[in-house]
């Protein structure tokens, strides 16, 4: 058994890619409306989505593509861990909450003023109950994600990993699922070996 990347999803420049295939894109290349547009295009039925901040919406959209696929839905959720990272923490939501404080502080905005809330939202939606961690890094750090994931895979069966970053005008998401698989599965399903180089290649391309 070795550790492989089973699937990956990217959201960048208002495009959503899954395993290298373009799933949806927005003609309007400005703003964060893409997240709401993608939700509708993908026909998701999860009304709570609209109550979330942009970081959680980004995480939900990326995770949805990965976790509902037929091959991966068999991975036991109670043994799935989540390791995420970004640069801006929850700054965008922190600023939004700060604005409400001068008038009527918003409880529903306040609950998103931590970056790891997105892990909770993904876990609730997909009933994931494994270990989790969220790292704040100046840039995408494949080595850190790889090392932490390898450590978790000593106890877990799979790990959802990646980078979710939002600002006032843009968002960038890259999630991938790593799991223990046999070499025959690697060839059958075109799984990708889990190492810092392969993670970096998927992130860049």
């Amino acid at each position: 058994m070795s550790n492989y990347i089973l699937a990956y999803t990217k959201i960048k420049n208002n495009c959503l890619w899954h395993n290298g295939k373009l799933i949806t894109e927005s003609i309007d290349k400005t703003g964060l409306n893409f997240l709401d547009e993608a939700y509708k295009t993908l026909n998701l039925s999860y009304p709570k989505f609209f109550k979330m901040d942009a970081l959680s919406k980004l995480g939900i959209l990326c995770a949805e593509q990965i976790l509902v696929s037929e091959t991966i839905s068999k991975v036991p959720k109670e043994k799935t861990a989540i390791v995420l990272s970004n640069k801006s923490s929850s700054l965008q939501t922190d600023k939004a909450y700060s604005k409400t404080m001068s008038n009527f502080p918003s409880p529903s905005v306040f609950v998103y003023t931590l970056p790891n809330i997105v892990i909770g939202e993904i876990s609730i939606k997909h009933k994931i109950t494994g270990e989790n961690a969220f790292f704040i890094e100046p840039v995408f750090n494949a080595q850190l994600l790889h090392n932490y994931t390898e450590l978790l895979l000593q106890e877990s069966e799979s790990v959802l990993c990646g980078w979710l970053n939002t600002s006032d005008t843009t968002c960038e998401g890259f999630l991938y699922l790593v799991a223990k698989q046999t070499t025959s599965d690697e060839k059958k399903f075109n799984f990708i070996k889990h190492n810092p180089d392969s993670i970096t290649q998927l992130y860049i391309n």
């Binding site: 709401d36 009304p47 609209f50 109550k51 009527f104 502080p105 918003s106 409880p107 529903s108």
Partner: protein, 84 residues
């Protein structure tokens, strides 16, 4: 009262970000929590903010909140009673 109920429906949708709900979808006598709109504890806090922001009302006794927030109708009845 009818205008107040319609206003409340719009304000609830806006305050609670119920993007997929239209005013006509809300049954004013249906429970707001548990079933009906399926609101949660954070939504309850937002309803408290809504009452203060739009109607200048603060619920004095927290024990009354359950009855006040039972439905749009009960919310409207509370607002009306406080305006007298």
């Amino acid at each position: 009262m009818e205008n107040l109920i319609e206003n409340l429906k719009r304000q609830i949708i806006e305050q609670l970000n119920l993007a997929e709900v239209k005013p006509e979808d809300i049954n004013p006598s249906a429970p707001l929590f548990g079933e009906g709109l399926g609101l949660d504890s954070i939504d309850a806090l937002e309803l408290i903010v809504l009452l203060e922001k739009h109607y200048g009302l603060k619920i004095q006794d927290p024990k009354d909140a359950k009855d006040i927030f039972a439905s749009v109708n009960s919310l409207a009845a509370y607002i009306t009673s406080q305006k007298k």
